[in-house]
């Protein structure tokens, strides 16, 4: 069925941390799909579980964290039935083989994501040597090629450098080169530009788009920046407190945002002429700690359209409100669709091709 057109289908994923102070449901029922060669943007405030979702897919969550429920169907190897990554032993050889070669990841913190004691060339070659049957010399050649692809100047010299000799942007290029060196079918990019300055950010984003076109991989692009999402993604999943509250294509999300949280996000976008920073400060109240998730709809203490008696007692489910647009909010259940109590926000003007 639709399975073959998607590279990844996550359904009702729950990853909890069993800490000394109690259980932290960092990811608590996340569902989304990523199309082959497509880009899914995952949007949400800090701490809503974006990184943990990414780690769960690669099975990198370590104790006290644990995937307690859900499926992660990956259709990269078996295009008909797929593999449920949630069922594979995280420490198994099978899972290790998948990491880097089938699914790769680029991280939030380029400054600390490389081993300081080895040259960047060594670290890229390491990724190649564990997945491809090539000699050291060939791995070296591939590493240089990849550095060239990510537009590192003088790649032959660069592979001899140590991480501390490179700037943040350079290191992130190295990380991308490393992630792409084995031509993965899915790249999880976890806020790859958050730690970088604006100019470098623009360069890296452009680079990623080009490489995606060239290599034909799918990208799961995690960010809290609406501007970046608009630039990179075709599909968007909006996360709030460990749950996907809305998913749709980028057009529909920006022209017709439905979940009150998404609407609030849209309203927080600055107008033309200002930098599209997209920090989500204007939403009333603050994000509750994932240790103390409110009852009912987790967004209800901050929601402007809060329905007394329903929203604070029952949990809304992710439902299709119109073709290709899912939302989890009582306003859109039982024919409520569209009749929200707040006026729809003005369509965003500055983002997109801005």
């Amino acid at each position: 069925m639709a399975a073959k057109s998607n590279i990844l289908e996550v359904s009702d994923l729950k990853t909890h941390f069993f800490t000394e102070q109690g259980v932290v449901p960092a990811v608590d029922g996340v569902s989304f799909q990523i199309k082959r060669g497509g880009t899914l943007g995952v949007l949400g405030e800090s701490g809503c579980g974006k990184s943990v979702t990414g780690f769960s897919i690669l099975r990198l969550v370590r104790p006290p964290g644990e995937i307690v429920a859900g499926q992660i169907r990956y259709y990269g190897r078996d295009t008909v039935n797929g593999d449920d990554l949630a069922q594979i032993d995280a420490t198994s050889e099978e899972m290790r083989q998948m990491r880097g070669s089938e699914i790769a990841m680029v991280f939030q913190e380029p400054m600390t994501s490389l081993d300081p004691l080895f040259t960047v060339g060594n670290q890229i070659m390491e990724a190649i040597l564990y997945h491809q049957d090539v000699s050291k010399a060939e791995a070296r050649k591939i590493a240089i090629e990849m550095l060239d692809k990510v537009r590192m100047p003088q790649p032959r010299e660069m592979i001899k450098k140590y991480p501390h000799q490179l700037s943040g942007g350079m290191r992130q290029r190295v990380m991308i080169a490393m992630a792409l060196s084995c031509r993965p079918k899915l790249l999880i990019a976890d806020e790859p530009t958050t730690a970088l300055d604006v100019t470098t950010e623009a360069q890296i984003l452009e680079l990623m788009r080009e490489l995606q076109e060239e290599l034909g991989m799918a990208i799961m692009f995690i960010t809290h920046d609406l501007g970046v999402i608009a630039e990179m993604a075709e599909e968007v999943a909006v996360m709030y407190l460990g749950k996907v509250v809305e998913q749709s294509d980028i057009e529909s999300l920006f022209t017709d945002p439905q979940h009150p949280y998404t609407k609030a996000l849209m309203q927080s976008i600055p107008k033309v002429g200002q930098k599209a920073d997209g920090r989500l400060e204007t939403i009333r109240g603050m994000v509750p700690s994932p240790r103390n998730i409110p009852t009912g709809c987790p967004f209800h203490p901050r929601c402007a359209s809060f329905l007394q008696g329903i929203c604070d007692t029952e949990l809304p489910q992710l439902k299709q409100s119109k073709p290709g647009h899912w939302v989890s909010c009582f306003l859109y259940e039982d024919g409520n669709a569209g009749h929200s109590s707040t006026p729809p926000p003005a369509p965003p003007q500055s983002i997109g091709e801005g």
Binding site: L58, L60, Q97, M98, F107, T112, P116, A127
Partner: protein, 327 residues
């Protein structure tokens, strides 16, 4: 790299000179001198005649000269490799030290090698199995091990050894083997005598290495680059041994620098308790008797080894860590 080393060596020289002066002054500072303490001891043995030769003895040993004069004479000879004579042992300091360096290093190197080669793998195991039963057990054992002073352990082992074998296992040789040519039986006898000091010191040493290794490895395993390595599909074994362990050796290498001096002054009290023919034993006696040239030489030697050790550790760190190398 060569310039870095040269710069460090030159920086060490003034400190070394200060340690030399400090070492000599500390030896000289207590009230009285070797002759005074000699006479007191002779009194203790019932010899009341000794006081008569006090002045004669003092001038014979040149102890009637002012401190600075003796220091200058001594240091001038020191620079030529003559460390002076021991008043008490009636021999040159050089002979005393060269007689004892062999046994000292035999015991200290044995304990050093054993505790590091047990401590590192156990520390790695403990860190990579954090909160498991084995880790909890090892951590508790480490705590207890760190709380067991080696000389008290040595005393307990002595009692135990006597109850088991009927032998008092002090020294490094049974009387029967003294001045005998080497033989297998003699080697076994030596090993038997080494067992108590080595075991006593190894317990604390291993516990220390284990704790440092575990702590640092845990710290490294929580770093971001470890996640990167996992995400690119590097086997866990390689992540631990090639990357994390290498990164956590920093404090152990720094400690390695101090080990050099430890080789000749570690387990001082154990040495005394077990009557081992080591440098530590003569150092304590020389301090107590104000046998200044002997004690001073050993103190300076320790200071010298501390500085050399720190230097070597710095060089090793620079060799291992590019961040230091290209500072």
């Amino acid at each position: 790299m060569a310039r870095y080393i040269l710069r460090r060596v030159i920086a060490v020289l003034p400190t070394l000179f200060l340690i030399t002066i400090f070492g000599f002054l500390v030896m000289e500072a207590p009230a009285g001198d070797y002759v005074t303490s000699y006479i007191i001891r002779q009194y203790g043995h019932g010899n009341t005649e000794a006081a008569r030769i006090e002045d004669e003895m003092r001038s014979l040993l040149a102890l009637d000269r002012p401190v600075y004069e003796r220091f200058v004479t001594w240091i001038a000879r020191f620079a030529q490799g003559d460390f002076g004579d021991s008043f008490d042992l009636r021999d040159s300091v050089r002979n005393i030290l060269s007689d004892r360096i062999g046994p000292t290093l035999t015991i200290s190197l044995a304990t050093f090698v054993i505790s590091w080669s047990i401590g590192i793998p156990l520390g790695v195991y403990s860190a990579t199995h954090q909160y498991s039963k084995a880790d909890n057990f090892l951590t508790t054992v480490t705590f207890v091990g760190l709380g067991l002073p080696d000389f008290l352990l040595a005393l307990a082992f002595l009692i135990l050894g006597w109850q088991l074998t009927g032998e008092v296992l002090t020294g490094l040789q049974s009387p029967a083997f003294v001045n005998q040519p080497w033989s297998l039986a003699m080697l076994l006898d030596l090993l038997k005598h080494m067992l108590i000091p080595v075991l006593a010191v190894v317990i604390t040493g291993t516990a220390w290495v284990m704790r440092v290794m575990r702590g640092n490895l845990l710290d490294q395993l929580g770093r971001n680059y470890i996640v990167t390595l996992r995400a690119k599909g590097v086997p866990e074994r390689v992540i631990i041994w090639k990357h994390a362990v290498k990164n956590s050796l920093h404090p152990l290498i720094a400690a390695l620098g101090q080990t050099l001096a430890w080789l000749i002054n570690g387990f001082t009290i154990t040495s005394i308790v077990l009557e081992l023919p080591t440098i530590q034993t003569v150092y304590l006696n020389a301090t107590l008797q104000q046998d200044v040239y002997l004690a001073g030489t050993i103190l300076i030697l320790i200071g010298f080894l501390v500085l050399i050790g720190t230097l070597l550790a710095d060089i090793m760190l620079a060799w291992m860590d590019p961040r230091i190398r290209y500072e």
